[in-house]
Amino acid sequence: MTNIENQIFSSYQRNPDLYDEIYDKNGKIKGVYQKLFNLYGEHSINDYVSLNNKAKSSFFNQGITFQVYGDKNVQEKIFPFDLFPRIIDPVDWDIIERGSIQRSKALNLFLWDIYHDKKILRDNIVPIDLITSSANYLDQMNGINPPGGIYNHISGTDVIKHKDGKYYVLEDNIRCPSGVSYVICNRTALKKALFGVFNHYQTHTVTNYAENLLELLESVKPKGVDIPNVVVITPGMYNSAFYEHSYLAKTMGVELVEGRDLFVENDFVYMKTIKGPEKVDVIYRRIDDQFIDPLEFNPDSVLGVPGLFAAYKKGNVTLANAPGTGVADDKAVYTYMPKIIKYYLNEEPILNNVHTYHCSRPDELKYVLEHIHELVIKPVDEAGGYGISIGNRLTKSEIEKVKAEVKASPRKYVAQPIMSLSVHPTYIDDSESFEQRHVDLRTFTVLGKDKEFVLKGGLTRVALKKGNLIVNSSQGGGSKDTWVLKK
């Protein structure tokens, strides 16, 4: 089958410098995509557009939206979704899965260590100032033993395929990684729109996330609790990830609470129900550390629960993820991941790390300032793709501005070579055709005492703007259903 017969891809242009996930170097469709390519080829672009619109309105009607705060009013938007799925074959998936688990485990051991004996610092593997100068290191966590020894119960690992065909991790997200609900919604939408294509592939299900998450949360119950009462805490319905919070609560069959629904009495946590107070044992919290308890952290927080941290410290309630995990997804800690993995697990990293320059080190800072046009500059403690500058996209004056910022607070920034994320054919509204767009993959790893689980799918995020490398939804990114094929 050639491109000419396949009208849906007939105008697809390939840039030879980019790593295309469905075409090989010689312009042939790769094996796993062959059937899909043919199946989609049976449709005209108009069919595709109409299916795409149906999928969009289905998202909209279901209220699977996020809020965009504009100048005047709040707008409801759907997370853009592309109906052409990404396929990951079992060999690649094996690497991603093992790599994600390896990183989660290593980060967990790292967190335990830096909140206890700090051996990795004493052995001079990781410099002490990564902790002393991190706003996310919580002194209060020192000496606390979280149930099961687990800190990062839920991790989101952002993986990319570089043009060398290898997988690299761009970021570990172990505070409140979001996006898992979209994985499931994307699958549901694709099944409704193009159910036929599923007959031709043996794809792993993604609907088992909630049951695995619940099993994990129940496994880290406080001591002395028989059947734990689990809840999800949300900042409220105006939060951009509220849909996900309610989705997770609903599918786990647990209560979705806000801070004002909980109270602490004698260091135990209760929720206010129609039948009076009911004890809460495990809280999957989707509120940042600083907001969980106004008596202990940010006193202006109205999202949290006064006294919650004392209840946690006394071991009467479990928080997932544990407070203070943010220190380990600091992008400056990221640089040390290969060493951290080696140190705690005595293993070689399965997923590659992108070389990172620390602006806090004078010699590296010098290099960064001199080579800014070929680097990505990232703030160490921002999430959601905020504050990222890509060197070769900057104007002269922008470069000077970035330089000045970096010089002013070098500890705040790291720099990495510009990675060439792989591209995937994505339907683009403006040109009414498929075009190459950069993609990444966020995997979701659940880590328990004797449990590890990676959702077989993950969220493929697409940078919808041509040539753009930032895939975050807050930066105009979309997503695709991601199929992990069975062996």
């Binding site: 909209f60 009607n61 209220g63 609903k250 209560e255 979705l256 609470v257 129609i274």
Partner: protein
């Protein structure tokens, strides 16, 4: 169930029900006035005033000329008027949002679609020629929502709370309609005379409550004040009657509070007490003083709602 979420569900039920009654009141009054048998009832000013009276915002200035477009817009789509239909639906959805994990996807999707329909309905169309389409659609959507509530939710505490909200609101709205039509009949006939008893307004009232056909079937006579009130207040089989609503509330509160113990402070006790008062009421007693009856029943309904709030939502 969380007390806050229960509160949300209760009010979701109330707002859904309220939007339907307001919509139908607008629709029926507007269209039946077009060919009403007496001049007063045909008068557009009279109808617009009746609408404002019903939503609890009567125009006090007798001389003031009301612009039809303004009144319709205010009650229908004005985002700055808290009792407008658009706001009722907005509030219903907001309440559903915070209880989203407890209700079914199907119900949520229906509310959401409803919301988007209303929020996107063009103002110009509504005030010019969209009244019928809009209000009919609102009424139909609320039927769908009640269907989803009944058909897709577990019939447990969640369902009981929503149903209590719906039924308390229904009894309230029916009473408000009776009040508005009582007022209209008084104004159009100049007092509680024979003409008052046979006023055309009673037919309109029954239609507002979607009960005209069944009422005719039941009495086989032209509606009068006494038969209409009897049907809409006391008939337990009329699905819109105050009695029927109270029976429903009574049934649902038992799911929340199954205890049989004598507890005069409980919501269940209060509801039971109000319910039995109307179960054994003579319509003649009501007819003697309709005005006081309306005030009493509205007060009882507010008391019940406050009691529900105090017992189940307060924390």
């Amino acid at each position: 169930m969380l007390a806050r979420v229960a509160n949300n569900l209760f009010w979701m039920g109330r707002y859904i029900e309220r939007s339907e009654h307001v919509a139908r009141y607008l629709n029926v009054n507007y269209f039946s006035s077009l060919d009403a048998p007496n001049i007063k009832s045909q008068d557009r000013q009279f109808v617009l005033r009746s609408m404002l009276f019903m939503v609890g915002d009567p125009e006090k200035d007798d001389k003031k000329f009301l612009k039809e477009e303004d009144v319709l817009y205010k009650i229908g789509l004005d985002p700055n008027y808290s009792s407008s239909i658009i706001n009722n639906i907005k509030f219903a959805r907001e309440n559903a949002n915070s209880a989203r994990d407890l209700i079914s996807t199907e119900l949520y999707e229906a509310i959401n679609k409803f919301y988007h329909f209303v929020i996107n309905y063009p103002k110009e169309v509504f005030v010019k020629n969209g009244l019928h389409e809009f209000t009919t659609h609102v009424a139909e959507m609320t039927d769908i929502l009640r269907g989803k509530i009944r058909g897709t939710l577990l019939h447990d505490a969640t369902y009981a709370i929503i149903s209590m909200g719906i039924n308390i609101e229904r009894a309230t709205q029916i009473t408000r309609m009776i009040n508005a039509k009582f007022n209209d009949a008084m104004l159009s006939q100049g007092g509680e005379n024979e003409r008052f008893r046979k006023s055309f307004e009673w037919t309109t009232l029954l239609k507002c409550a979607e009960s005209y056909d069944m009422m005719r079937r039941f009495y086989k006579k032209t509606p009068t004040s006494i038969t209409t009130l009897e049907f809409l207040i006391l008939n337990p089989n009329c699905p819109r009657s105050v009695m029927n609503s109270l029976n429903q509330v009574n049934q649902h509160v038992k799911i929340l509070n199954p205890e049989k113990r004598y507890n005069k402070d409980s919501t269940a006790f209060l509801i039971g007490r109000v319910r039995s008062e109307y179960e054994f009421k003579y319509i003649e007693e009501i007819d003697e003083d309709i005005k006081s009856f309306i005030e009493d029943i509205l007060k009882s309904l507010v008391d019940i709602s406050n009691k529900v709030d105090e017992e189940f939502f307060n924390y």
